[in-house]
């Protein structure tokens, strides 16, 4: 057991180092200098040198990319001149905002997806085919369409005009409800689009499995087959898919939604740092996301055998 944990930890650390080093090398060699943003017109060479020193503009060498990697991995990213605050501080602040949006939407989205997949799985005469068609249609909707249509319906004067067009204020529960409702609704629906068809397919594949036929032939009641056998077996791939898709969904979804609604979360920070060329912040966000992804994968790998004995350590 100790050997297994040692192996997996070293694998996570090695993968994390590789990802961070790869990205820092790309950023060091390929990113242009944004020095001109901090200089006035007709600056003297002395001023340029001074600003360079202040910004700590690294040279385009492997050593500087290694230095950038290590400072990111040891959580010492320093100060961002673009954000005008410490990088860790701005990431912490952005993370709380994104978490306040993401946690409810993840919870609601996964629950809704499971509910719809479950109803369409149960073979109701009209409802189940309708829901399976609805799930397939949802999978064909882009996040952008959801954002625009829900914004049109709920935030504009042409629609119901219930919520503000953009902005963020989470000082109290009422203001949080006012500003976060539409983004949460969009993210929940987009999660339903992502997970709904997937969960449905996974449950349907269990219905066609040979063991289901055997259990039915043995006269086992359908509720027992579903709750004791099928749900347990299907939960392993469902968990794997959640662990695999959630980190990329959080970043991808938050970039779209937060930019459109001007919410100062992780997505907005990513966009800002990407447009301004803030290498350290981008690298910090990349390594944090990669770490979350790798950790989730490992947690799932450890917990899977508890759910399904076939996937043993």
């Amino acid at each position: 057991m100790f050997r297994f944990f040692f192996q997996r930890t070293s694998y996570i650390l090695f993968s994390l180092f590789c990802i961070t080093f790869l990205c820092s090398t790309i950023l060091t060699f390929e990113a242009p200098s944004y020095l001109h943003n901090f200089l006035s017109k007709n600056s003297s060479p002395r001023e340029i040198e001074k600003t360079k020193k202040l910004l700590g503009t690294p040279e385009k060498t492997l050593a500087s990319s290694l230095e950038l990697t290590l400072s990111t991995l040891f959580l010492r990213p320093g100060y961002s001149h673009f954000q005008r605050s410490s990088i860790l501080g701005s990431i912490k602040h952005a993370f709380t905002v994104t978490a306040s949006l993401m946690i409810p939407s993840l919870f609601l989205g996964i629950l809704a997806a499971l509910f719809f997949a479950f109803v369409s799985f149960l073979d109701f005469p009209v409802l189940s085919p309708l829901i399976s068609f609805f799930l397939l249609s949802l999978g064909s909707l882009s996040d952008v369409v959801l954002i625009l249509i829900l914004k049109l319906l709920l935030c504009t004067k042409q629609g119901f005009h219930l919520f503000p067009l953009h902005g963020w204020d989470a000082s109290g529960p009422l203001s949080y409800f006012k500003y976060a409702s539409v983004p949460i609704l969009i993210m929940t629906l987009s999660l339903l689009c992502l997970y709904g068809p997937l969960f449905y397919q996974l449950l349907v594949s269990e219905k066609k499995a040979p063991y289901t036929r055997t259990l039915k032939a043995m006269g086992c009641p359908s509720q027992r087959i579903f709750f004791i056998y099928q749900l347990k077996t299907a939960s392993a791939p469902i968990l794997t898919h959640i662990a695999r898709l959630t980190p990329s969904y959080i970043i991808g979804g938050s970039i779209l939604v937060e930019n459109h609604f001007n919410i100062p979360g992780l997505g907005f920070l990513t966009y800002e740092s990407c447009v301004t060329g803030d290498k350290q912040t981008i690298l910090m966000l990349i390594s944090l996301t990669a770490f979350c992804y790798l950790l989730l994968q490992e947690v799932i790998q450890v917990t899977l055998p508890l759910l399904d004995k076939r996937t043993d350590l």
């Binding site: 397939l136 064909s140 625009l148 914004k151 042409q158 990329s248 970039i255 966009y271 992804y293």
Partner: protein
Amino acid sequence: MRRCKLSWVRFFVVFFLLLEILSLFYNGESLSDLSYAKPSWTHFLGTNLNGQDIFARLLLAIKNSFWNNFLTSLLCVALGIFLNLVLFLFNFPHLKKTLLFLAHLLDTLPIYLIISCCYSFIRAFPEGFQFFLVILVCPIPFQSILRKQETLEKHQLMLSAKQIGCTKLYIFFRYLFPQFKNLLVAEINFLLVKFIKLEIGLSFIGLKQSYKPTLGLLFAESSTDMLKGEYTTLFATSVVLFLILFFFNTSSKKLFSENMC
């Protein structure tokens, strides 16, 4: 459609031809003096803020988005096949491990983050974006082809072909390749949907610049039109996008399930 699994390929060809023919009639972005003109016989869906015909722009956008993303997904699958061929021919266990590790690394990060990491490169070379996507997404077809290849390698047919002294290159193209061509069509379908969605998302927030009208650009335009009470571009683009994605999602699901069977 049910008789021949590759009839989807025929649909691709017909769809491309139809788009080409339609875009011949609605060539360019015909301008009108009126901005936000109502739908008429000259402008089927009316005009936008700059007096450009929305229908003509929509056709151009579908054509551009479709071609770009189709070629990218084709290249992605081709790269996946090439990597598998190299692994099959030379059978280096270390190379396989390294490729799988690299595929895992690329799989770990959200595409949005990697694109933001290379944003200045993409901004300097907008055409390089597609090339970049090929490298980023090639692990998906590579891994699925590898899985299929590994199961097929243990098949009696492969063992017999090896026994009678067929070369590895011959075995790959004569016996293995026909076995996973359905999987490849399904992968192209799947990647096409993924790329179209990605392109729309990136154009919408302004991370991908495009000089030609694309679906993403139309959505970005429609968000400003929407605030002025004009919804034609939004609804037309949403309906077209939904129909395209629905068709490709359904077909890829069907092809994947046939392949699994």
